[in-house]
Symmetry: C2
Subunit: 581 residues, 2 copies
């Protein structure tokens, strides 16, 4: 049994995660988090918030819808670019990822190849459907967004978002205003995202529905190397596999982020800073230093919006180095596109040190033509027109021959332009974006695999104490002689104090300890016969199986100190000689 199989078996049996809809035969690409997995995932999300929002200055979290109207994805480029090549069998109608199928049948990588080139290979090699040996059709592009209709009108198409980021971009203007127009501004979001994968992988590596955790760090491109927070972390060592090393077939280098920046392996300081935040975050999930590396995406792998993307990969059993986060320098791509497609000016004003003289294009609604052409709507047309950016209006008139204002089509006869010289106190610019983006589901699996250990033929899930879904188990040694009463009382007190605690009375004490170890419960409290005599209980440590005795009256206080990280296990109460494994 591979480590992967062991972790997934444990996950299913103990209630962390498993494939959804089992009673209906399952649907690949969907996963269910059980009683322990759902809390583990929440704990990981909250730890991420700590690193990527709460501990950063001027970083905030928002929540935007999953379903978005098609206009958003026309602007973002996802309607055009967010596709995979597919090929269908003309006989049995089965569909395949075209690149995967060609790789499988021909044995060569077709990554980055154009559709026409893939079609050529299919024809030349006379490839057939592996299932029924039927002829294959043409390679086509399949959009990976889930499509639906909003409302009862067939025409109102919407899509489930394939990333959270667009929610931040379309709301940027209002948020920037609310946050008192300061840059850099970090806008984060944790939420569900959907990608209609053609061939979802096993486990959680390629899901159709998953939780994304993203921050869009919005900044002045002229300040992209001004990152005060970087100073503290500049000596962080990273294992870095650049695009160029990959192209040369060479292994990654170990290098400090500062040096990598000097050697221009990382585009800018803010991007470099987030590599260090990411490394520290992933280490706090329990992943060892040598199982974390950064890989730059190759030119053909990068998303359409990215200047440089550096993935964080962790080493997973059976899957090798696996991407769990991306750090993309999205430049001004998204904001520029939304400005263009919505006609709303989302540029940011920047005060200059000294006033500047600039030539500025201004527009003047031509009342002589607008009046007669639009009658009673003329006033509204003029009002709306005056709100628009002159350069953008001119661009649209030039490219498409008209511009829509207040629902009316205006042509060049309705608008006059004029260049004016103006003394301005600053300039407007489109901010740039650095984006660290995480998949929460992969983090849950990574955390589980790296916590998995075995001792004397038993499984111990050594989850970091902060992430453990259940902090404390409470047990009566046996189910008689009044022990359950005392244990229940302790259980309820701890529940009331806000601990995540469970009461377990079923089976032998050894079996109950074993179950708690498999769930990763850091501490167990056992009420035994000595409890009835001296009002003490034992506290058991998951990782060492050692036990210590504590007065019930001191329990809450000691447990608080332990879970706040203020005392170690061996500072709890007094030692116990024997244990009950």
């Amino acid at each position: 049994m591979t480590l992967y199989d062991k972790v997934m078996e444990l996950s299913k049996r103990r209630g962390f995660l498993w494939p959804s809809f089992e009673i209906y035969g399952g649907t690949s690409g969907f996963v269910t988090y059980g009683p322990y997995g759902a809390i583990l995932k929440l704990n990981i999300e909250n730890m991420w918030r700590d690193f990527f929002i709460y501990k950063q200055e001027n970083f905030i979290e928002i929540e935007t819808p999953i379903i978005m109207p098609s206009a958003v994805f026309e602007a973002s480029g996802h309607l055009e670019h967010f596709t995979d090549p597919i090929i269908a069998c003309l006989k049995c109608e089965k569909r395949y990822r075209a690149d995967h199928l060609i790789e499988e049948l021909v044995g060569v990588s077709v990554e980055g190849l154009a559709i026409s080139e893939m079609n050529k290979i299919v024809k030349e090699k006379d490839l057939k459907c592996p299932d029924c040996k039927g002829d294959l059709g043409e390679v086509e592009l399949f959009n990976l967004m889930f499509k639906t209709n909003i409302g009862a009108y067939k025409g109102d198409v919407g899509y489930a978002r394939p990333e959270a980021a667009q929610g931040m971009f379309v709301e940027f203007k209002r948020i920037f205003n609310i946050m008192r127009e300061k840059l850099p501004l970090g806008i984060a979001q944790i939420g569900k995202t959907m990608r209609n994968e053609i061939s979802p992988r096993k486990g959680v590596t390629r899901l159709r529905e998953f939780t994304i955790m993203e921050v869009e760090v919005i900044l002045d491109p002229e300040e992209i190397n001004n990152c005060p927070a970087f100073e503290k972390y500049k000596d962080t060592d990273i294992m870095l596999l650049t695009a160029s090393l990959q192209q040369k077939g060479e292994p990654p280098v170990n290098i400090t982020v500062e040096r990598a920046l000097e050697e221009r392996l990382i585009d800018n300081k803010w991007l470099a800073y987030f590599l260090t935040v990411s490394k520290n975050f992933v280490k706090s999930l329990g992943v060892a230093d040598d199982k974390i590396r950064f890989r730059e995406q190759l030119p053909h792998e990068k998303a359409h919006y990215s200047k440089q993307t550096i993935d964080l990969q962790v080493y997973l059993d059976g899957q090798g180095w696996t991407e769990i986060a991306g750090h993309a320098y999205r430049t001004d791509w998204d904001l520029s596109r939304h400005i263009k497609y919505s006609g709303v000016d989302m540029r940011v004003f920047k005060k200059a040190d000294t006033p500047l003289t600039v030539r500025k294009l201004v527009l003047k609604p031509s009342k002589a033509t607008i009046g007669p052409d639009f009658q009673k709507d003329a006033a509204r047309v003029i009002e709306e027109l005056n709100k628009l950016d002159a350069a953008e209006v001119k661009r649209q008139l030039t490219t498409q021959g008209f511009i829509e204002v207040a629902g009316k089509k205006l042509t060049s006869k309705h608008i006059e332009f004029e260049e004016r010289e103006e003394v301005v106190k600053g300039k407007k610019f489109i901010p740039h974006v650095i984006e660290p983006s995480y998949g929460a589901d992969r983090l849950v699996y990574t955390t589980l695999e790296h916590a998995y250990s075995e001792k004397e033929g038993r499984i111990i899930l050594k989850l970091p104490v902060k992430l453990a879904p259940i902090q404390i188990m409470v047990y009566p040694l046996v189910e008689r002689d009044g022990l359950p009463d005392v244990a229940t009382q302790i259980y309820r007190e701890l529940l009331g104090e806000g601990f995540r605690v469970e009461y377990d009375v079923s089976g032998s004490i050894g079996r109950r300890y074993a179950r708690a170890d498999e769930i990763g419960v850091p501490l167990g409290i056992t009420v035994d016969y000595q409890t009835l005599e001296d009002k003490t209980v034992t506290v058991r440590d998951r990782d060492t199986w050692r036990q210590r005795r504590v007065f019930i009256s001191e329990l809450v206080n000691i447990l608080k100190q332990f879970f706040e990280g203020r005392i170690y296990f061996n500072q709890i109460g007094s030692p116990v000689d024997t244990n009950l494994e």
Copy 2:
């Protein structure tokens, strides 16, 4: 300006919530939570977890997918029942909620009317499209689930879930097993839900995408009046509007839950218990006692699965009594249906006090017919057949004439039945379900409206301290003389200690206080000239505008005590005579 308009204006301006996709003209039914709204919503969700999961025994949380295959909703009845009547104009093609349109045009309530009766009214009254005066078509049923395709095959239809509950039901068997087969078992979920409303309302009252918080309390129907936790809350007073009072046009009664139970106004004790949990929860959001009432749904309003549904309503300005939670007794509807549609036995075994003699139907695969008919698949067919419940197999053979086993159609010639007398140690039963279900978005609005107050022409958002998105503001009195340095240092220390804190330096101190009051920040810390002399700062209370002086060295400790509810504001440091409003 109504209170509703004031709250929404504040929400938008200060960054709690606003309609989504504004730059693209907006799409009704979608809402965005800004920097303060997203945290407020998270805080409300976590408070809900406290009341409905963490403080309940054997209650756990799971996370299941939003997109589910159609098989789930065939079984749950949503494909058939989750509909609204619509009517389209034959000329301009505009679509309307048929019942709303008839009510608007004719002025009578058509609630609960059949489609045929609505069609009759449309014809008799010769109703026309209010927009273009065109003829109207037939009233039809429109399914409110968002539809999509899973994968590249057109046939694999999926729907966005209209409630979280089905996720709990389809996973019940595994979760029950993980939780060591104890009832009652509470399975909770907080997550996004989608309903393709035909006419979404303004604000957050009827959204197309919203967050649901649900618990399915799964229990033995014979134990539905055995609820030990109820005892502590049985004297809780509630304002109750029964179906019968509504039918008689009478006002609600004030009654204890215990008395309501005795008078059979509430179906069972578990349902009654959750009314008390709900009331306490909603009060903790800051809603006054007399703004909370419980309304029983009328027979025609109830969902297809419900025996009794009691809504919790809060009084909102302009909207009147508004449903923010439902408490439904779903009986065994859902589990029965999923057992039937999936063929998986999800019944629960219950040990009897004394062994019972029962007549039991058993099935015997008829090898003489299965062998020849299914050849090499025969062994697998027999194996699968033996796993099925005999009574269910017989039912399917009787109703549809065949049963599908291992992909093969079996008829009655393949299966023999026999009744046997057996001494059994217990029986199997289908558990029943009580469901408290909340809309998180409505709770956010409710919390904001009930926190909204005005004082001397200024707005104060008196959010409960536990819910405040920002706990502390840190201000330098002025932006010079070293005050910002000290303030920044305090800000960073508090950030490091895990407080939700903001630093504000922009504008006069009075304006900054006013902004903090509008966001509902409970405490403000001001660094002034005295700070430079004696290392003290002032702490300002949002609700009273009073200030007290505290040593910086004691700040963290005092703030912790305040936010844990261990000290009151007037126990902080020493009083200050003047304040700076």
